[in-house]
Symmetry: C2
Subunit: 278 residues, 2 copies
């Protein structure tokens, strides 16, 4: 049964997905959103694929309890390993970060050289390069894991000399490779967008995977006739599995506005929803 007023479910390993929620609200202001940030089990980027798949299914199962009409995997790491399992388990549209980001990157490149930065897991799984080459095998993809970008974004050091030094170290090989497009393959990286742009130079186009994914959500809901027909602003509900001490500061940095009404869900409950070993 179609339920156009049902919320869109969004999950992430933590708070990075709030940069995606920000763009979703911009793109679809009438939609209701339920967000789950798995802050008790963050980060996913350094965990094994099996663990990330298991957690992703649990998170999606939690969102299903709100009767969501679509699920956005607002986490590149989860998107890089868990999309197939999620689509097998859940009979509603599931939108990840990789395919939209890859398509956007392809739309911008004219040199056919695309750079991708992300967590160790996203890069180690070659998630973006596989998807890009699947669409256009002539494009060269240069990937680089940037594990220190997440802690710098969460520390809020968005223009510190140390941040610049780290960005220079990570991005130099991509610049040398002659890329003209750089996919920010982690939902934290838009926070460091200015530093990244300054280090790679203004001629390189940055692709925010969260913006790309938001357009995909619009497209998919439109095609399936699932858009909310209400004219009122949508509501947002935020759930997390832990409330870290710096949550309010980081969440407002990522969402671009203050966050209210955050509820905690017990990890025991989330992990009871699905186990690969059961």
């Amino acid at each position: 049964m179609k339920n156009n007023s049902a919320p869109i479910g969004v999950f992430d390993s933590g708070i990075g997905g709030l940069t995606v929620v920000k763009h979703l609200i911009d793109a679809l202001p009438n939609e209701n959103i339920v967000y789950f940030g798995d802050t008790a089990r963050v980060p996913y980027g350094s965990k094994s694929n099996d663990t990330v798949i298991e957690y992703s299914i649990q998170n999606a199962a939690f969102l299903m309890e709100f009767g969501v009409k679509a699920i956005v995997v607002a986490c590149n790491t989860a998107s890089s390993v868990a999309m197939e399992s999620l689509r097998e388990k859940f009979a509603i549209p599931v939108i990840g970060m990789i395919e939209p980001g890859a398509k956007y990157g392809l739309g911008y490149t004219s040199t056919n050289k695309i750079g991708v930065i992300g967590t160790r897991s996203t890069i180690g799984n070659n998630a973006y390069s596989k998807k890009i080459k699947e669409i256009n095998s002539e494009v060269e993809v240069f990937e680089k894991a940037c594990p220190l970008f997440v802690p710098f974004a969460e520390e809020g050091w968005i223009d510190h000399p140390a941040t610049i030094a780290v960005a220079e170290e990570y991005l130099e090989p991509l610049k040398s490779a002659g890329i003209d497009t750089l996919i920010l393959g982690c939902t934290h990286y838009p926070i460091l967008r200015n530093v990244i742009q300054n280090v790679v130079g203004s001629t390189i186009k940055l692709v925010d995977s969260g913006i790309a994914a938001s357009y995909s959500v619009v497209k998919e809901l439109t095609e399936k006739d699932l858009l909310n027909t209400s004219n009122s602003p949508g509501t947002q509900l935020y759930y997390v599995s832990d409330v870290p001490t710096t949550f309010k500061f980081v969440a407002s940095l990522f969402l671009g506005k203050d966050i209210y009404n955050v509820k905690k869900v017990e990890t025991d409950y989330i992990s009871s929803l699905f186990s690969i070993n059961k």
Copy 2:
């Protein structure tokens, strides 16, 4: 019943505790050690106190299954919030990082100005300053959370210009305060010891909480007549709740030698051992 040949149990939120194991092996080469690193749920430093207490009890309960004669909490964050709960629950010696580190710091200072660096949680709980002032209320304690040190240590950037820039930013207020002793209140920080020493200058004494704790373990096992009387080298068993892709690299950096025979335990099993909500 006393069992001198029983192993010593050591747990940490992840792999930082391996710097403590390294010193334990140096101090007590005949002792058997069972290590549990909660790599699936790392980091603890940004989690709430309740969550850290719950995880700590679960980890200790897992070690109890090996019949351990003592438990070393090789994690400053867990030591700063969970010692009381652990000692209530378990009737064997439980040795944390804070008290030994605080006592060592007091043993070195002549200006009565001690600096402490650690995770947000350890510093936010004022774990070291409370303990130091409990022993000597005239000592001034200057604390600073250094959340970026852990990812830099795990990235292995032990002398990168960015690491130095981060250390300068964090440590400047402590230098200005005139400390003569600096407690490394996180088991990851000894990896960055050289950078930290260079930035604060050679006249400031660095205290490694893991070394301090190892001496406490020797003292406690001796007093309770629990030392292993065997003359053979002890064995080490390593358990983790997840095996991250970079585990081998980081583990050998932290332990100071290659690590073999690492076994994975399911997080479901660990979390089934105790729940605050039950």
